[in-house]
């Protein structure tokens, strides 16, 4: 191996690098950070600076180049709460939560209320509820056509409801075993 005539400098290099990294320790310096790295500290914004920023929200919209409506748009949409959009079937063994309007035939042995019951009444899934109240509750399976308001399908459903009105049972429309409300006029929903 041929050594450079300046190879002795390689012994000095680590010392030089080390010398550059040594920072004199001042007991009143850098005490904030255990690593000794100076912290970047800035002054908190003043109230007047912050208030000036708050005035610039509208400018943010202008800079973004999104267009403004000619006049304020009245928003009609609002998300209905889950419980607010439900009805509650209360029987001897518990209660179930169903979409409002899915009980199309009613009977006196099952109460249908608009608010969830309070007290020691167990909450049951729809399938549990039907199982435990066999004899007073039954499902009416509906087709996709009913959900899309197909006239022939709705006519068929109406005739089923009429037939079941004399059975003395609460009937709930279902799709694939789960409760579903159907687009029927309210006069088609019968009370016994």
């Amino acid at each position: 191996m041929k050594l450079s005539k300046y190879h002795f400098l390689s012994f000095l290099l680590p010392a030089a690098i080390g010398a550059q990294t040594v920072v004199p320790v001042d007991p009143n310096c850098c005490g904030n950070n255990p690593d000794g790295e100076p912290l970047v500290i800035r002054a908190a914004a003043s109230a007047s600076e912050v208030n000036a920023k708050r005035q610039r929200g509208q400018q943010a919209y202008e800079r973004s180049s999104v267009s403004a409506p000619a006049e304020e748009v009245e928003i009609q949409a609002s998300r209905e709460g889950f419980l607010a959009g439900s009805e509650f079937l209360v029987g001897a063994y518990g209660f179930a939560i169903l979409p409002k309007g899915s009980s199309v035939v009613k009977c006196k042995r099952i109460k249908i209320v608009a608010e969830p019951p309070v007290g020691d009444i167990p909450l049951l899934s729809w399938k549990e509820f039907v199982g435990r109240h066999r004899g007073v509750v039954r499902s009416i399976p509906v087709s996709d056509g009913v959900l899309t308001a197909d006239p022939a399908s709705l006519k068929h459903l109406r005739s089923s409801i009429k037939t079941l009105q004399s059975a003395g049972m609460t009937c709930v429309t279902t799709l694939n075993g789960n409760p579903v409300s159907v687009p029927l006029p309210t006069e088609d929903v019968a009370a016994k």
Binding site: N32, L39, R42, N178
Partner: protein, 345 residues
């Protein structure tokens, strides 16, 4: 009208997660997918697992379906619901998504920021029909921006006032964009106490048969700036013995650390001094908090005659900031000169 306690709003995202976890652990929680047919209004409920995916069991019409995921719990006191998420699916529905980013990396629920820091509203729009013959509802989406101000002097225990309109805009281009707000838009004159929520909703416009459809929503929590006050020191008085000093800290930012440093000389922002180890404030809450720091051994630290500066520093996701400072003059020679005077007499 949106009216709910501030802490409730803060925890909304967490509660959904909590509901999920409890659903698996104690089976006291139920998660239900609600599907609403936008053409006929029929509603379908299906109880679902806390995780997973499956094809929709009810048909999705051309006009679309709104899917909302709810978790609810049952106790003897009643039934409580939590909204988890929503999505709109339809063949001809424009799509839109909002999300907010802030300098605070908090990921526990609703994004948060401080009133002076601002935030960015990001949006992504797809499937707008910009052809000449397209109906208005297919050409653009409505962005609605509302505000709610905390009505309580202590924001952490505050109640949000009535939501009010701030701005409305149309998004009429497909693609991704953003709007950078340099500060919060919460109105008021005192950023050390003003706080609230900013709400953004993205709607598909009504098409004559259905009302506006909410495509997406985003919210951001706005917390006030922190303040500090030294108690027990007077800048105009030279001290032989430094008295006990306390520092009243107000509205310290969530997950922040606050301490006091001292250094010789007049105040100068950016100076790295000696951190006082006697007391510090660490906030591990999701809300701002107040603390008091007490220093009984300051006399040992200010060990030389002259002017000293004490600064309150707070470290937050926004960096390290000086929120208060004071100076104190130490002159221990006063007593010695007085003694010599007595001796010479």
């Amino acid at each position: 009208m949106k009216m709910k306690s501030f802490s409730q709003a803060v925890l909304a995202g967490l509660l959904a997660t909590q509901a999920y976890s409890q659903a698996s652990n104690e089976e006291e929680w139920t998660v239900t997918l609600r599907q609403r047919n936008l053409e006929t209004g029929s509603v379908y409920y299906a109880t679902v697992d806390r995780e997973g995916n499956a094809p929709s069991q009810a048909p999705v019409p051309e006009g679309g379906s709104e899917f909302t995921l709810w978790a609810y719990s049952r106790t003897d006191q009643g039934t409580t619901e939590f909204f988890v998420d929503s999505a709109l699916v339809g063949a001809y529905l424009p799509k839109g998504r909002l999300w907010i980013t802030t300098p605070d990396p908090y990921s526990g629920g609703i994004p948060r920021t401080r009133i002076d820091q601002g935030f960015t509203l990001n949006f992504e729009v797809a499937d707008l029909d910009t052809s000449a013959g397209a109906p208005e509802a297919a050409k653009k989406l409505l962005l609605d921006h509302d505000l709610a101000v905390s009505t309580n002097a202590v924001p952490a225990d505050g109640v949000l006032g009535k939501t009010f309109d701030f701005e409305q805009r149309y998004l009429d281009r497909n693609g991704v964009g953003s709007i950078r707000f340099p500060g919060s838009n919460i109105p008021g004159s005192d950023p050390f106490s003003d706080s609230g929520m900013e709400y953004f909703n993205l709607y598909a416009l009504p098409d004559g048969t259905v009302a506006e459809l909410q495509l997406s929503e985003a919210q951001v929590q706005i917390w006030p700036m922190s303040s500090a006050e030294f108690v027990g020191l007077e800048s105009s008085t030279p001290y032989k013995i430094v008295p006990e000093v306390s520092v009243n800290l107000t509205n310290l930012y969530p997950e922040s650390e606050t301490w006091v440093q001292v250094y010789r000389g007049p105040e100068s922002v950016g100076t790295n001094g000696t951190r006082l180890s006697e007391a510090k404030a660490i906030i591990n809450d999701v809300k701002p908090d107040n603390k008091v720091l007490s220093f009984k051994t300051l006399n040992n630290v200010l060990d030389d005659n002259g002017e000293w500066t004490l600064e309150v520093l707070t470290q937050t996701p926004f960096g390290i900031e000086r929120i208060s400072w004071t100076t104190v003059v130490i002159d221990r020679d006063l007593e010695l000169r007085g003694s010599f005077q007595v001796l010479s007499d």
